[in-house]
Symmetry: D2
Subunit: 370 residues, 4 copies
């Protein structure tokens, strides 16, 4: 492998900027691997592409993403456009021999996700999804603790994901309330907890889901109201073999901003985590003097890899954007053929299938095996 | 009404002592109503009854509870014996014209609960159940906040109740793992959250339940193992009209000691509460300057009735036993014909019916309307 | 000792009610010792005395406290009147051969405290002060942990006590802002932390104090303003031998309701405690796997004596009034000649001397040895 | 100003890497200002310099920092070497016409700090210190809240800074325990809180300090022990005009990893902050319905500038390294002549003077005016 790797970026919104920052910093943070060269940036218009290329430090800018795909200087493509474009872009990039780093979720329709997964398989290239929460040093620590048997055999899990960007009933109707955008909280949100369950617990074997609409209608620009077609709330009972669990997601939960709260119960202890305090985990161990037992709050530090690559002192705190840098590093490891902590298109398709199984369960009011 | 009221107490375990303390303190705390006179205490043996009567300050002691029921000095009977005895004792007390304060749950079998409710109705006496958590000043405050519209229209609720007294897989098999004791966490635990849902949200209209066993078997005294027959975990999706909700109970949850965690989401805010920190509630209001919004932690104080009857200064904290004193005072109000905050036998029967409906839902794997 | 002990109560405000509840409940909670008989209650007027006697269950009521002192049925006297009356009443009670349970602080003037201590010494009776926070099961647990060496050798302590009843600058001038009431936060508040330092760490050897007035004047009824004469804030550097420490008290601290926050640092760990969450303590131990170290939050339970006398289940929570019941029980132990956890008049005088030494330090701007 | 700015970096330890990351990301994050070009990196040896230049993406590498100072491509120099080198390097850089971004503290000796400040003044260049905590969006928010009068007039402040890297008494003696390194916690730590007090409250007018050694000696490599010469603990009473305050710093505080805890009390409310949870602040406002008052926990979000430049969604969290990116952006603003939030060499010298005044206060046991 050469000393550098050529990067292309399609889309420069929230996640596009995250990817740009990750590509820029990954080498300085980790010190290993090729140096990313920011070769080509594509946006909806040439103007916007050029402006962003200036800000982010890309060498070329295009108003047409296909030019980026055709650029021989580009080795890996970050796709951060709206979900509806993922399939077309990812398939094209893979067919052009590029590696792909695509934001989640894969696609609105299962058929598109399947197409993406097939293209990845055929291409022999690395294709991963932006499930960044699995990269949190504290989540990695939880995985290690479970693996070490620190809480014995896991028997019950609860996971909640809540934000409040849909909580205002008088906020205007927009595309997230349209059926064409998907089911609602189930695909918009639940995929993140599902990536964590996959990494920490295992494959779901059975689900029972209920979706709910906190608000029947929302105001429209014209002054009228339009019926809401998606579900801002989804509640799911699930099983991972013998492990029972609950998944609850709500994008209308006033006061919650980035909550992903995990409760994992085992035969010898419990673990708690909340993404809103991503630099902490809590562990209860049913051992030692009984009068001294309680939940121990562990602050992230250099012992919780790869926190040490960012900061050598404990308790200083990583941020959300740092998760994306870690994810980028894992992608580079995968590209180099090293074992990597990623949700690739195959695993991602598994998550998509679960989401659709949950929607079927809701519709049919019965347990469904994904 | 005379200046005093004659009290009988059957059972002197955990709850028996709580009742005794409540009867002893209620007049000094609240200053109103009749003075309770501790007339008669019954226990399984005369010896034990006499010892406890000495400690608790009762005038008479009997080894046979029927003597207590026959005692004309007794106006109200506290029943704090194991659940299996509730029905017989409560019915006898009511038929003898006594008021009854019976610990929860009503009875293992629905038929017994129905018998108790019928006896109460016939008697014209006051008959209430020991659902003390509804008496917490913070729970009362939550009710007021919801009533005032502080969080708008409630649309989603999550409630968890967890303890860890069944969490040790190597703890010996005992009666709580026997099918004769009931379903498990569902009737042992879920009744408390159900009392809170009833008071704060309303009547359940639909439930879907799943029960789970974290441990298949437990060791027996003889050195063998015995299959566990009850479910230490129960997870329930529910609806109260348009409000969706989740109820999760787990008596094998390492690290949880007395957790009853409420999350109530509305169209204008949210409320959080955890019984392990019973002197606090958290409220988020979607109003005021956006940059200053967040969950406000309110500490219990004299403005949260009836905290003021215990302590005139805020932030000093009530304890669990104080809830029982408040409950006792509400019982006395009911006896005087005043409006009272109680779960009477009729409401309690409603809770029992929901528990049995949940068990049916689990068995049949379908939504059930209680 | 007979089976009962005769109780007299002078004063029926906040603390008077606490004492009454403690006397009423102590036998039922602990099961041992004599049964308190509520013999005689004294208040400022006969009317009030009679009303309170009815509520609290006392047999006799007087508008003159000297009648209570003369009552041969009274063995022990609870003194809960304003501080200015403590000395006269306590001395009279002791000289009449009664045991005394007097609320803190002992007296406004050191000479009065000395007189009380001398009377107690002469009388051979038990005379204790109402320093209830040392009775908290979690504080007792901290003492045990330190004694066991759980955090090694203590080398640094921080203690804060804050409330906000003087925080409103527009609240009317009242006696707490008059110099005749004492120094301000120093004697009003600091005595509580000092009782904790005494029990947990040891005798103060050196102090440097600064007092401050957050508000220079306060409004008066007439519409004018009056200069504030006391200090609502006091900050103290101190030493207990080689242990350095900080004491900070503030009765104008908006948002603090009953905060007494302890931070104790040792060579092998640390302990944290806050009275606003009196059923929790936090301990950090510098041992075990480094990646798992953190503060462990321990919830009060039956293993933390004497929590078990109140509730057999952990995590259910004691309240402030329960501390007074424990204190009452310790008093009864002292009266029976058993080792007891109390601040007697001799120890209390030591606390008073420290307060006055702090005030001298402030005045002279130098370190003072109490 | 040209489109780019040439960056030199001296030192590549903890802070050196932070600076490198900041220079790399600042343009992509903020979108404005010149693009930093990483021109020249200097380390103690050419080998190390070249390795780090490769990792961090610098164009040139030198084993002699003077070559970097002489490099005409370099416009601004980051100095992140041990404190003893700051003065010589900063003065040389300023005299060569470079802007300087120097890590804190300025220098061990006051004379060196004065020399640095004079050189900055003479040069007309921008010279700032790495007091990154003032850059936290939540700290900025606190400043705004105070400025808006959200808590009325500030009257009392407490600030604590604690870590535990010196907490192990059996850790080997190293240079931080030598007198040549400075006073100990006072200059190693206290400068950070002092930067916060300066920004949030104002200039200290009077200090009284006490320093303490938790451990008298530490083991040496040879197997013996050596007397500790510095103070790991420092406690300071202070005044900012009428505002009283406490500063407590402890680098031997087991369990504390990056705690900088602020308590700010005003006439209409209070604000709390802890750097270990840098994405939260707490505010209490003495307004609105009294029954609903409490501390509101605000999660950082786009409304708290410049969080929005990093992440458009609230509650996702910035990390420690992001503070350095913000600091870098403020430096660039200063270089462009725009108003900037920085501690320049003049303000930094003020902080150094306070530290030395505190040491004098400790020595002389008296209040000192800096």
């Amino acid at each position: 492998m050469s000393d550098t790797i050529g990067v292309g970026l399609i889309g420069t919104g929230y996640m596009g900027k995250c990817h740009a920052l990750a590509w820029t910093s990954v080498k300085a943070v980790f010190g290993d691997g090729p140096r990313p060269r920011l070769r080509h940036l594509a946006e909806a218009s040439t103007d916007l592409a050029e402006r962003r290329a200036g800000e982010f430090g890309f060498e070329r800018a295009s108003g047409d993403w296909r030019q980026l795909i055709d650029d021989p200087q580009v080795d890996v493509v970050s796709i951060t456009t709206p979900n509806a474009f993922h399939a077309e872009m990812a398939v094209a990039a893979l067919e052009a021999g590029k590696h792909v780093w695509c934001e989640k979720p894969m696609a609105v329709h299962l058929a598109d996700a399947e197409r993406m997964e097939a293209a990845a398989r055929r291409s022999g290239r690395v294709a991963i999804l932006g499930y960044n929460y699995i990269q949190s040093p504290m989540v990695r620590q939880i995985e290690e603790l479970i693996g070490q048997g620190a809480i014995g055999t896991v028997n019950h899990v609860r996971i909640e994901m809540d934000e409040d960007f849909m909580a205002d009933p008088e906020a205007q109707f927009y595309w997230k309330s349209e059926a064409s955008s998907g089911y609602g909280a189930l695909d918009d949100f639940a995929v993140h907890p599902l990536s964590l369950i996959r990494v920490l617990i295992g494959e779901l074997t059975r689900v029972f889901a209920q979706q709910a609409k906190p608000y029947d209608s929302r105001p429209t620009q014209g002054g009228g109201r339009r019926a809401v077609e998606t579900f801002d709330i989804a509640n799911v009972l699930f099983e991972v073999g013998d492990v029972s669990g609950i998944l609850a997601v709500n994008r209308s939960a006033w006061g919650r901003k980035g909550r992903i709260a995990l409760q994992i119960f085992g035969s010898a202890g419990s673990i708690l985590y909340d993404q809103e305090r991503m630099n902490e985990l809590q562990i209860y161990r049913a051992s030692g003097a009984a009068a001294g037992q309680g939940f121990t709050t562990v602050l992230a530090g250099p012992l919780h890899k790869p926190y040490d690559r960012f900061i050598p002192a404990p308790g200083h705190g990583l941020g959300f954007n740092d998760l994306k840098i870690i994810e980028c590093h894992e992608l580079l490891r995968a590209i180099r053929g090293e074992p990597a902590r990623v949700i690739d298109f195959s695993a991602g398709l598994g998550i998509e299938r679960i989401v659709h199984a949950m929607a079927r369960s809701h519709r049919d009011e019965r347990w469904v095996r994904p």
